[in-house]
């Protein structure tokens, strides 16, 4: 009716993902997945592939399902609820997105079906320490070396980059650090000489790495080197939309835990949820959640290069709601909410990380304020 409601297919997709996670990704299972060497589970990854999730946004010609923003939203929201650690954003949305938008037919045919089948895990290396929240600030340089390219510089926050088997790296062929022109995207084998990786765990448990590039050899570029700026911007916008959906899932789960706690925890002889002040705080969280859900929907629905305002607005709304709900959920839980063994603090941490990825609230608000 409005164009915003999920289709029947999307409802079935949501059910399938939720069932899979319900069966294999409760809080205890997640703890086991996090303890695996890569910080996530190859077994779960194979199940995602079986369900068709890993090729969801790719064209059917590339071994995918031609899914759009709303399909991705359904998946990411479920991932947010379950605090999924697997490199879906890195491999499918970011790196996969770069390949499907900037790669030529041969590159797409060589890479996308392997991602979709779960046989290739990719990473996307764009952020740099000096850029902080300025998304287009790139100092890493690229220059030609025969038919290949040489990359020099440093990347940070490469999500799941420590377990990626191939990397898409942004680098500059010309111009100053903030110049929108002169950027390229390169396919890099992380085992190549001159590439160093240092992995680490992010606050909420998923993994990332820093990437050192010391005359590292990249065999191929995606698209025309020098003109990758718009593709990078669009891939990041899609990643933000996906993160917004993930955040909505995490917030909804934190809210649900909180309501449950208010109903069951007793103090001074009655459930604490009978305190009007706590009820009203929970309502403030509910309203923030609804507002955030609306903007995640908007960001998912709009796609294409003209959507940066909607995406930035979604990041702002999500960031504001994330603090209110994440902090409120811990507060309403009291002491138990501060403990590592209880899920609610994990949601708060996941939301903190989402807020800092691809520009924080203040940064996107500044873009909108102009």
């Amino acid at each position: 009716m409005t164009g915003l409601s999920p289709t029947e297919e999307q409802r079935l997709l949501a059910d399938a993902v939720s069932r899979l996670l319900g069966d294999h990704y409760d809080f205890a299972a997640r703890r086991r997945h996090a303890a695996a060497p890569e910080g996530w589970s190859r077994d779960i990854w194979a199940r995602f592939a079986d369900l068709g999730l890993l090729g969801l946004p790719f064209a059917e010609a590339d071994g995918g399902f031609g899914g759009g923003g709303m399909d991705l939203l359904v998946v990411m929201e479920a991932f947010g609820r379950a605090l999924v650690l697997e490199p879906y954003l890195a491999s499918v949305v970011l790196a996969g997105g770069a390949v499907r938008r900037a790669g030529d037919a041969a590159q797409r045919a060589a890479i996308l079906p392997r991602i979709a089948a779960g046989r290739l895990v990719m990473g996307f290396a764009h952020a740099e320490p000096a850029a902080r929240h300025r998304l287009r600030h790139v100092e890493t340089g690229a220059h030609r070396d025969g038919s290949a390219w040489r990359l020099n510089g440093a990347k940070t926050l490469v999500l799941n980059g420590d377990s990626a088997e191939m990397l898409v790296v942004s680098a500059r062929l010309s111009g100053m650090a903030e110049d929108p022109d002169g950027l390229g995207l390169f396919l890099l084998d992380p085992a190549a000489q001159g590439v160093s990786r240092r992995g680490y765990t992010l606050l909420y448990g998923s993994r990332a790495c820093e990437l050192g590039l010391d005359d590292a050899r990249a065999d191929a570029a995606l698209g025309a080197p020098g003109g990758a700026g718009p593709v990078i911007a669009q891939v990041i916008d899609e990643a933000i939309a996906a993160l917004a959906a993930e955040a909505v899932g995490a917030m909804a789960a934190a809210q649900a835990l909180t309501i449950e706690h208010l109903k069951t925890r007793r103090q001074f002889g009655r459930p604490i949820g009978q305190n009007q002040a706590l009820q009203h705080k929970a309502v403030d969280m509910l309203i923030a959640l609804e507002q955030a859900r609306s903007m995640a929907l908007l960001a998912a629905f709009r796609s294409g290069p003209a959507a940066w305002r909607e995406v930035a607005a979604a990041k702002v709304q999500i960031g504001t709601a994330a603090r209110l709900i994440g902090e409120g959920a811990v507060q309403l839980h009291g002491g138990i909410g501060m403990t590592e063994e209880y899920a609610v603090g994990h949601y708060l941490r996941r939301l903190m990380v989402i807020e800092q990825l691809f520009g924080d609230t203040a940064c996107h608000l500044g873009r909108l304020a102009g």
């Binding site: 009716m1 409005t2 915003l4 109903k263 403030d284 509910l286 929907l297 629905f301 608000l365």
Partner: protein
């Protein structure tokens, strides 16, 4: 058109916008843009223009002259009116009385009152609140005792908005004093010209006198003007209050006010620089715009969902729209107050003496600033009337969160 999610809705919006641009009187538009409320004659004239086009009663079934729009279309209609800006069809007539008569009225009542309500030949007001019964309608004390084919009504209503313009009032009265608080209430239609009925304005802190006390002293009302069965008025009141609550978010109006804030901040200079050059102010406006955009989608989602409810069943989530809508209207009014700054501080020596609608204004206040402080002051009522914010939160806690 960038705000609609299907081409059909975008085309619908374009049609509305075109019509409004062609028919809205320019002087009315300009006064509303400055922030003045529309006056009585403005509202009547505009509603008749809409009625001639078949658009004055968006929520009425086509059989009663409605245009047959969906809930989402009705939202877009309100949005385009706010954007213009133009008055909405008078809510007392169109979203309150009309649906009640359609659902509960007799054919005679429908034929007598509906066409006149649509065309604003009658101006209705709402007699629900009483001094001791604000958010708590069950405490209603106005009585109506049966005398032959009349009721004799005795009591007092308050907060009766625009009663000074009205020639009819729909009204809750207690017909069975012995029954439980919610039972024993009936719904009457009362001619404001009845002997014994008098109206006294209540001056509010914004300088306006748009709300009133209505005194009923042995007012005789024909039994034929009771809507529904005797002692079943509570049910009708609930139906009425649950109707069309989506519009209460007033997203369009807030969006229009923010556009006005941007415009003013670009014109007003402080020590030589336009205010809008201040990054802190720009952030503040942008943050509000994001919240309004989110509320617009939230409203759209809830209205679509409500269309799937059985008729007459209210979605408690509508309280989200009321709460967030009030907050954003208040924040927009506060923003405009801050933009007006020191130039918004003056009022006419007697705000009621020389402004027909009671609008504050003196020639020491620039035209652009005059309505902004009163609008801020009136905005404090948004979180009070129609159920305070605190009551809305308790409703949500109980009915949505199950606490």
């Amino acid at each position: 058109m960038e705000r609609d999610f299907t081409p059909e809705l975008a085309a619908f919006r374009a049609e509305l916008r075109h019509f409004i641009a062609a028919h809205l009187p320019a002087d009315l538009r300009e006064r509303m843009r400055l922030g003045h409320p529309a006056g009585r004659e403005d509202i009547i004239a505009w509603q008749r223009i809409l009625n001639a086009r078949g658009w004055a009663t968006p929520s009425w079934p086509p059989a009663f002259g409605g245009p047959g729009w969906s809930g989402v279309q009705r939202l877009i209609f309100l949005d385009e009116l706010a954007r213009a800006p133009a008055p909405e069809p008078l809510a007392f007539n169109v979203t309150m009385l009309g649906p009640v008569l359609i659902a509960f009225g007799t054919p005679e009542q429908q034929q007598r009152f509906l066409p006149r309500a649509a065309n604003l030949d009658d101006w209705w007001c709402q007699g629900f609140s009483e001094p001791g019964a604000g958010s708590d309608l069950a405490a209603l004390a106005t009585t109506a005792r049966r005398q032959g084919d009349h009721y004799v009504v005795q009591g007092q209503k308050c907060w009766t908005t625009l009663a000074q313009h009205a020639n009819w009032m729909f009204c809750l009265v207690r017909t069975d004093p012995a029954a439980k608080p919610q039972a024993g209430i009936s719904f009457l239609l009362i001619d404001m010209a009845s002997p014994g009925l008098s109206v006294r304005p209540i001056r509010l802190i914004d300088g306006s006198a748009h709300v009133n006390e209505v005194f009923l002293d042995e007012v005789r009302v024909p039994v034929a003007l009771r809507v529904g069965a005797e002692n079943r008025g509570w049910e009708i009141a609930k139906f009425l209050l649950g109707n069309e609550r989506a519009g209460i978010a007033r997203v369009g109006r807030t969006r229009e006010r923010l556009a006005r804030a941007r415009e003013l901040a670009g014109e007003i200079r402080q020590g030589g620089h336009p205010l809008i050059e201040d990054p802190v102010l720009r952030h503040r406006i942008a943050a509000l715009e994001v919240e309004v955009q989110a509320l617009e989608i939230t409203q759209l989602r809830l209205v679509s969902a409500a269309e799937r409810l059985p008729p007459g069943e209210a979605d408690p989530m509508a309280s989200v729209l009321k709460l967030k809508g009030a907050e954003l209207q208040q924040r927009a009014a506060e923003l405009l107050l801050d933009i007006a700054g020191p130039q918004g501080l003056a009022i006419a020596p007697d705000p009621f003496a020389n402004a027909p609608d009671g609008i504050a204004g003196a020639d020491t206040v620039p035209d652009w600033a005059a309505p902004l402080a009163p609008a801020y002051l009136f905005s404090r009522a948004y979180s009070i009337y129609g159920g305070t914010n605190e009551i809305q939160k308790s409703i949500l806690a109980r009915s949505v969160l199950g606490l």
